[in-house]
């Protein structure tokens, strides 16, 4: 029974972890098991998955073990993940769209001056998704294209106009007040 619980525990931990988990972390949390024990349990789990034709297995990568779906389902999974209707963005896209939203109209070189990296790909993607559009050219040297956010952008976020964008301070100022109230002992630590 004890063995069965440990192997279930390995499964639960790998499943729930947001990042790949390595053997030592698993062994540490379970307690009283060696790295080899854990490795063996992972092997046993994968045998069980194969036998019962599960659509997933445990793979190693990213510095530890994690669950992965079997490659033959990727076509459908892709449909699900991409077409979910919820906005997904990379960190780079998020930063770029935030600069355009708050500093519009803005040129690509102005964005790159802040972010410090090439943003060509990200801008194309945002244009494709109709979150931003081109609105004229700057009067400065090279007359670069200027970008602004679109009506789709406003609609997605439920805004009536750009004036309604939350000012970062509105969201964070409250926080500062909270911290200074509760954390008056902070200086000591």
């Amino acid at each position: 029974m004890k063995g069965s619980t440990d192997i279930q525990l390995v499964e639960a931990l790998i499943f729930a972890s947001p990042e790949p988990v390595d053997l030592s972390r698993l062994a540490e949390i379970i307690g009283n098991v060696s790295h080899d024990d854990v490795r063996e349990m992972i092997g046993e789990l994968n045998r069980q998955y194969a036998e019962s034709e599960r659509s997933f297995s445990i793979v190693s990568g990213g510095g530890g073990y994690r669950f992965a779906t079997q490659p033959q389902f990727s076509r459908w999974v892709r449909k699900l993940v991409i077409g979910s209707g919820r906005l997904r963005m990379s960190r780079a896209a998020l930063e770029t769209v935030s600069l355009i939203a708050y500093k519009q109209p803005i040129s690509r070189s102005q964005i790159e001056a802040v972010r410090g990296v090439d943003t060509g790909g990200v801008i194309r993607m945002l244009l494709d998704r109709k979150l931003i559009r081109v609105k004229g050219r700057d009067t400065g040297p090279g007359r670069p294209l200027l970008y602004v956010t679109t009506t789709d952008f406003l609609t997605y976020f439920g805004l009536d106009s750009l004036d309604d964008l939350p000012k970062p301070a509105e969201l964070v100022e409250a926080d500062r007040r909270f911290w200074s109230n509760t954390l008056s002992t902070e200086d000591n630590t």
């Binding site: 639960a12 499943f15 990213g62 079997q70 993940v81 963005m89 990379s90 935030s98 802040v114 976020f157």
Partner: protein
């Protein structure tokens, strides 16, 4: 090499400093945490540990004290209501008693539901084979305005501050401040400069008033004395009309 003590309670397991951090951030309710039980566990752990690291022990005592303080603050009656002031909802917004009951029920229902759900963990990082990295791993799902505002804020914070010179209109004049000083003499002929300064609300006002004082000295309207080195200045009104 000293080991750092790990707290283990039904609601939290991990280092003590993280526990205090989370209580402060209100991610964890201190009401659920027994400081007594943590202290007892800690003493038991000390007994088992061959050599005591005084730095760590000091840290622990400090953190335990902070935790106790936070807990005490939570337990003390607060001048402001800590829970819904439902009567206020009834009065201020002219809501019905039905709504108050529904709201109270919502809180209880959510507390129950949370209790049922709290021990269920979703799959955290399932890797989707055959999907490019961008889509599978690095996408932020469900981007919100809050994310956009925070991203903008952190980008802007990293930038060097813009160098701007703001030219402000000075709301004081020499003549105005001279009249201001003279107005203080209506009760008598002597006046401490500190009394003047108390009535001034900015650095600029103090500077302008000081200049006005020098000007009044120059035209012979007042005399200024300093009885002690570094002491307060004493202003005396001279009867200028007599001299004329």
């Amino acid at each position: 090499m000293s080991e750092v003590y790990q707290v283990s309670t039904p609601d939290y397991a991990g280092p003590m400093d993280l526990l205090v951090f989370m209580v402060r951030r209100r991610e964890l309710d201190v009401a659920y945490i027994s400081v007594g039980a943590i202290a007892t566990d800690y003493l038991a752990w000390i007994d088992k540990t061959p050599s005591l690291d005084f730095d760590n022990a000091g840290d622990f005592i400090l953190l335990a004290a902070i935790l106790l303080q936070l807990k005490a603050a939570e337990l003390l009656p607060s001048p402001k209501p800590e829970q819904f002031d439902l009567e206020l909802l009834a009065g201020d917004q002219a809501r019905s008693g039905e709504e108050i009951a529904a709201l109270r029920e919502t809180v209880m229902r959510l507390a129950d539901l949370e209790e049922q759900q709290i021990d269920l963990f979703d799959g955290g990082g399932v890797y989707i084979s055959g999907l490019d990295r961008e889509l599978a791993g690095e996408m932020l799902a469900d981007v919100t305005l809050y994310d956009i505002a925070l991203a903008f804020r952190s980008l802007i914070r990293e930038l060097p501050p813009e160098r701007t010179h703001i030219i402000e209109d000075i709301p004081y004049s020499l003549e105005g401040q001279m009249a201001f000083i003279v107005s203080f003499f209506k009760d008598g002929k002597r006046l401490a400069f500190n009394r003047l300064a108390e009535a001034l609300d900015s650095r600029l006002a103090v500077i302008m008033t000081f200049l006005a004082m020098l000007e009044l000295m120059r035209i012979g309207s007042i005399a200024v004395r300093q009885p002690q080195p570094f002491g307060d200045l004493e202003l005396e009104l001279l009867d200028s009309r007599d001299e004329r």
